[in-house]
């Protein structure tokens, strides 16, 4: 079937099997390999992308259902050569080690900051609790998101 999807403000048309998962559509069809795949059961959250601004686990979304929605992946965070404060925060505060969970974590953080510009530590922990990181122990991820909150774009 033909799927038309808007990813990072660009429209893509691809002929795929109806069962194609969004994560595989992004990775294998569009070559956007920044979105990772980790568990198949919606537990690890490494596949998180934004759909109309809300975090979704792309391993449990069919590519076909993405049609008509705006998808943002990690590749869409940097705009015109300017890093999102969340991206800067993760580097400043050592919010990543192996880098595998990082794209999903950053997108969840971006969505959190859109609805809550000044989240507390508890709110950040709650927001990322659907995602697993095996390297950092989360404290530096929390600090990274706080860094981003304190260094809003343009401020």
């Amino acid at each position: 079937m033909q799927v038309t999807a808007s990813v990072n403000s660009r429209e893509y048309k691809r002929d795929v099997e109806p069962r194609t998962l969004l994560v595989h559509f992004l990775r294998d069809e569009l070559g956007l390999t920044g979105t990772h795949w980790g568990c198949d059961t919606s537990n690890c959250g490494t596949c998180v992308v934004l759909m109309d601004g809300e975090p979704v686990k792309s391993c449990t979304v069919l590519a076909a259902t993405a049609e008509g929605h705006e998808i943002v992946t990690v590749e869409g965070l940097e705009v015109d050569g300017v890093l999102d404060p969340v991206q800067q925060g993760f580097s400043e505060m050592h919010g990543l080690q192996c880098g595998f969970c990082t794209p999903g974590m950053m997108l969840t953080a971006r969505a959190l900051l859109e609805r809550n510009a000044d989240p507390s530590e508890a709110e950040i922990r709650e927001a990322i609790s659907g995602q697993i990181c095996r390297c950092t122990g989360y404290a530096t991820i929390v600090r990274s998101v706080r860094w981003a909150a304190e260094h809003r774009a343009g401020s």
């Binding site: 099997e17 069962r19 194609t20 595989h24 990775r27 294998d28 070559g31 956007l32 390999t33 920044g34 979105t35 990772h36 795949w37 980790g38 568990c39 198949d40 059961t41 537990n43 690890c44 490494t46 992946t73 990690v74 590749e75 965070l77 940097e78 890093l83 991206q87 800067q88 993760f90 580097s91 400043e92 050592h94 990543l96 080690q97 192996c98 880098g99 595998f100 969970c101 990082t102 794209p103 950053m106 530590e121 950040i124 922990r125 709650e126 990322i128 609790s129 659907g130 995602q131 697993i132 990181c133 095996r134 390297c135 950092t136 122990g137 989360y138 404290a139 530096t140 991820i141 929390v142």
Partner: protein
């Protein structure tokens, strides 16, 4: 001047050089590799734990329009490839030919146009199994009526893999006989799994014309993998290139060679097209290297006033269906015999029996430092059990028995020589940060109110950086690592190393070592790793060995460059090399600091026309292989506070204080990150994670729905600090840090749980301390 603050060159906090690609989604992991014409492989796995294979019919799968090949064990048998040698020198089935020996074992490999079709075709393969009884409980594996798992091995009459002991049994028994107090405790360190976020996988490409095989694979040890692939397949080693690109976490899970890697290689050779194999999460949890699985019967002897005299232990070690533990060959129980811990005792003895069971192979993984996690858990729990019986405070008991600074280098009763330490200072610092006295007062108040608060104290000594060639090898390969440093004419440098980062930040840390030694800014130094065609030989990253071994190699090779630079500088300055002295980044004439040359100026001159002494070659490049004289012995003092809900028995870690000593600190930010990660592992291992099996050998932890890993809600904000006691034999005084917290935190957390349950008369609860386990313990059950 670096953009990174107060310490422009060398050691100190420095943002990672790796980050720019990862935060943009431009990391390159194995599954990101896309090659023209690439096919996809999938593994058919055994649905049962133990069965004889009666028949395999792949004809329907072969008729699938998108399937290119189906490979079975019988196909491989005809080519002598059905079995592979493991890192522990056992045989492991690549694809099963006679029996399946664990649920999830590899039975057939399908190669198709895409990953979905390959999975579809697995459903079309018909395998008939004749079920056999499974060996699940390792303690029953040696019963006379236990089914024989490894009937493939001539002369193997039971499920025993090895019997191994260390220490002095007779001397230990004598101490126990005469001791005032003897405390015995059975302890199980359950089977867990490293579960890195990125599962294992490979892409293999074979060029028929050149005969070159290129394998992108998730490995922590690319050079060791290359050698093993050559030994298994018979392909010439110089025609094999192993590329380990970005690795999404390893924790020991990505050390062994897995059947899937070999199937991808064989598939690429057979089809003439690149083949990708990427396992799913269930395959990762059910078939790749698990961790731990030690059933221990421990005992500790002491005087009535709390002087620890001896420790002994009998262990049944469950190694699964194939002995594929990745550890130095002559160490069947890894470094478990460092179980005397951080205490100055009179005698010690251990006896470990390794057994086969119908479970996945593995054992040494999950940042355990070759079984030191098990060793530290044993001794730290025994010390707490002793404190319980004697009514002595757990911190006081430790302070009274720690090895004192003047005893280093300290030889423990099983032969390890600890390089350096000031244990009491570190423990006192942790107690001070935690405000231990106040914590005990708070606990007393809470107990009076019926609240369950526990304070756990733990101290650990690690032994990392394997290892000296004369003692340690893997399949005959000495555990040494190389470093190659090239300094370009403009003073920029490229360091090539044999170890492989999985998130530890080698590209940053190793550049900082060169920067410290040569005065070249870290941003002017690129670190190359993970490609056997571009890097010197070495055994890779695991067991916290990168900084102790390759970090040392890096310092040594940088010093070689510095000495070459001295000769070139002498020629430039028309002085004798002996008349020069080094200040960071510059050789200058003694007593005449104006007369000197920077490393960058020297690099240009070394490739220029400066006349060099006879026998001195142009350039500054150098190479080295480092053979560590001993392991390094990092250590730490941990304090954990837990709250247990009396109604649900759920344990919450409310505080965790970790004071680590890893000697010289290269990049404190990265060190802190390593500690944080390990502490989180500890919470998972102590409270949540277990790969369990039912009585038929069905794996009950085969997905992240069942195998519970801590999220941000299960862990506190870590309180970390440090002391610095340099290693006397490491060139820069550094010790490993990657696994310290994973080793040190589980007993500290369990100590806290048991401390909280003291009003219930509970001395011990086995891990994972789930609500169910704790609930039963509170009601008098085990």
């Amino acid at each position: 001047m670096s953009a990174n603050g107060d310490r422009p060159i060398g050691f100190g906090r420095l943002r990672r050089k790796e980050d720019p690609r990862f935060i943009r989604g431009q990391g390159r992991f194995v599954d990101d590799v896309q090659l023209p014409g690439m096919l996809h492989g999938a593994v058919l796995r055994s649905p049962v734990a133990h069965a004889r294979i009666v028949s395999i019919d792949a004809s329907a799968a072969l008729q699938h329009p998108k399937v290119h090949a189906v490979i079975t064990g019988w196909d491989l048998e005809a080519r002598g490839l059905a079995w592979m040698r493991t890192i522990s020198d056992d045989a492991q089935a690549v694809l099963a030919t006679d029996k399946v020996r664990f649920q999830g074992q590899e039975v057939a490999f399908v190669i198709a146009d895409d990953r979905y079709s390959a999975r579809d075709a697995l459903e079309l393969i018909d395998v008939e199994y004749e079920l056999l009884p499974a060996v699940v409980d390792p303690r029953g594996a040696l019963d006379v009526d236990a089914p024989l798992i490894r009937d493939d091995k001539p002369g193997q009459m039971d499920n025993r893999i090895f019997d191994w002991e260390s220490g002095d049994r007779a001397a230990t028994d004598r101490v126990f006989e005469n001791a005032d107090v003897v405390v015995e405790q059975d302890l199980v360190f359950p089977r867990s799994h490293p579960a890195p976020m990125e599962t294992c996988g490979a892409v293999a490409q074979y060029d028929e014309v050149s005969g070159k095989l290129t394998v992108w694979c998730t490995t922590q040890a690319p050079h060791a993998h290359r050698t093993v692939y050559a030994l298994i397949t018979g392909l010439p080693e110089h025609k094999i290139r192993v590329i380990s690109p970005d690795v999404g976490g390893g924790f020991g899970n990505k050390v062994p060679v897995y059947p899937g890697y070999l199937c991808a290689i064989i598939g690429a050779i057979d089809t003439g097209r690149p083949v990708k194999w990427a396992e799913d999460r269930s395959e990762n949890l059910m078939s790749t290297a698990f961790a731990r699985d030690y059933a221990m019967r421990g005992a500790i002897a002491a005087t009535g006033d709390g002087r620890i005299l001896a420790v002994r232990v009998d262990v049944i070690a469950d190694h699964g269906a194939f002995n594929a533990t990745a550890q130095p060959t002559n160490y069947p129980a890894g470094f478990f015999h460092v179980f005397t811990g951080s205490y100055d005792i009179e005698a010690a003895h251990c006896h470990v029996t390794g057994v086969y069971t119908n479970k996945a192979p593995g054992g040494v993984a999950y940042a355990c430092s070759f079984r030191i996690a098990e060793a530290v858990y044993l001794v730290e729990r025994l010390v707490d059990c002793l404190a319980y019986e004697l009514g002595i405070d757990a911190a006081e008991l430790r302070l009274a028995n720690l090895i004192s600074p003047d005893q280093f280098p300290y030889q423990c009763k099983t032969g390890w020589v600890y390089d350096s330490g000031d244990y009491e200072r570190t423990l006192r610092k942790a107690l001070e940060i935690a405000d231990y006295g106040e914590l005990r007062r708070e606990q007393a108040k809470k107990r009076a109110r019926g609240e369950l608060m526990g304070i756990g104290v733990g101290f650990f000594t690690e032994a990392v950086g394997a290892g000296p060639r004369k003692h340690m090898n893997i399949l005959g390969l000495g555990m040494n690592d190389g470093a190659m440093l090239r300094v370009h004419p403009t003073g920029k440098a490229q360091l090539s190393i044999s170890v492989q980062t999985q998130g530890q930040g080698h590209e940053t840390t190793f550049a900082q070592i060169v920067a410290e030694e040569l005065g070249i800014p870290p941003e002017d130094i690129d670190v190359v790793h993970g490609d056997t065609d571009l890097t010197p030989y070495g055994l890779g990253t695991y067991g916290s060995r990168s900084t102790p071994v390759s970090g040392a190699a890096t310092a040594v090779v940088a010093r070689k460059v510095r000495e070459r630079a001295r000769i070139v500088a002498a020629a430039m300055l028309e002085a004798s090399p002996d008349d020069l002295e080094w200040e960071k980044g510059r050789w200058m004439v003694k007593g005449d600091p104006e007369k000197g040359a920077t490393i960058q100026e020297i690099a240009m001159a070394a490739r220029g026309s400066v006349e060099l002494p006879v026998g001195v070659e142009a350039g500054l490049d150098a190479e080295t292989v480092y053979d560590p004289p001993n392991l390094t012995f990092p250590y730490g003092a941990y304090i954990c506070v837990v709250e247990i809900d009396p109604g649900t028995a759920k344990v919450r870690v409310s505080r965790f204080v970790a004071v680590d000593d890893c000697g010289t600190r290269i990049n404190p930010m990265i060190i802190e990150g390593q500690v944080h990660g390990g502490l989180t592992d500890g919470v998972g291992i102590a409270l949540m994670e277990q790969i369990a099996f039912d009585e038929d050998g069905n794996c009950l932890g085969g997905s992240l729905m069942d195998y519970l890993i801590p999220t941000a809600l299960e862990v506190p904000d870590w309180e970390t600090d440090f002391t610095v006691t340099p290693s006397p034999h490491h060139p820069i005084g550094a010790k490993g840090i990657g696994e310290s917290a994973t080793v040190g935190s589980p007993p500290t957390i369990v100590n806290a749980v048991c401390d909280a349950l003291r009003p219930y008369g509970v001395r011990h609860v086995d891990m994972p301390c789930t609500p169910s386990r704790v609930w039963h313990a509170m009601r008098g059950g085990a």
